[in-house]
Symmetry: C2
Subunit: 216 residues, 2 copies
Amino acid sequence: MDKVPNYSIKQIQRYPIYLKYLISMRNAGVVNITSPLIARALKFSEEQVKKDLQAITSTKGKPNLGRDINVLIDDIEQFLGYKNTDDAIIVGVGSIGEAFMKYEGFKEFGLNILAGFDINPQKIDTKINGKPIFAMSKLKNLVGRLNVKIAIITTPSSAAQYVADLLVDAGIQAIWNFAPINLNVNEDIVIENVNLASSLAVISHKLKNKLQEEKI
Amino acid sequence: MDKVPNYSIKQIQRYPIYLKYLISMRNAGVVNITSPLIARALKFSEEQVKKDLQAITSTKGKPNLGRDINVLIDDIEQFLGYKNTDDAIIVGVGSIGEAFMKYEGFKEFGLNILAGFDINPQKIDTKINGKPIFAMSKLKNLVGRLNVKIAIITTPSSAAQYVADLLVDAGIQAIWNFAPINLNVNEDIVIENVNLASSLAVISHKLKNKLQEEKI
């Protein structure tokens, strides 16, 4: 087998940005593209773009001409696993959970939301965007039957740990957590937290500093 | 004037997590709380919790008894600026933008969404959660009149740079960007990117590695 290279989190996070840009360029009729052009457009360094693309691409770029944009797009999609779509469920169909069930953009990123789960009787057994919403009592059985590995938690933070425990018990292996709380799960479960409160705290703090500096 | 201490981004991001936890403990009837207890509950190190709380609190904890939970909550809210709510507008009232207009949780974090802006004639001059949606042509005038400093971009990525330029021209000083694209704006504008595609790429990659390891 090939040696498996190590990728840093920051590097992995850059590939969807390359992908988005390359698709827009292909749509605009571009056939070949160079690293310096990509670097300028995305405000990355040339060195970084070259390194990132070499790490995942199957072919070399030609001097002056650059790389075939179709090959590059295929290579990135292959690396990110976007060709084999990941099925996921959502737990907590509040306003954020509902938005995610409606959001067509996730498909572009290879994520296919199969169903939602909620405790609200008015939501249970209805559909959003063609996707069913089930009672929590059906979670374990359905996760097993559908063989789904990824769950998105969009519950209030007070419910998130309880839900995480249920999900792990049901066989979920990766959790995308939008509840502003640190989840306590076994180390072998993949967890990615998106804490909107923390992100907003950074903005408020920087803005406050900026406005104070202007006053001085 | 007092010396202004330096806070790291990671440190600032932890305060909303402390706040959320402390409020839940206060609601559960807790009056005093110690750093080791907080550290255990949030899976932070004791050293870090002590350092973080000392950096922003006005009083010292008492040995064994700990800190007054009300004082601690007040100090964190003061530091994060949650007492003086930040007004914000949303540009792009698609499924994510709509969810944000409905999401009551932002108020807890000190963010008050005043209005949305969109190009869709069917959305313009309607309301979501009591908040009006305006045409883009009204953006400059309204941002100036309302003296709003924060904008949230939830447009498709193809429109995000154009919208960012409009916002900066209108006087916006901080942008919370949810479009999966790097925005090109003047350095003095505060930008915080939440790239859901990048976050998802990290999950997919880790999950793929995990499943491969299990096969071996």
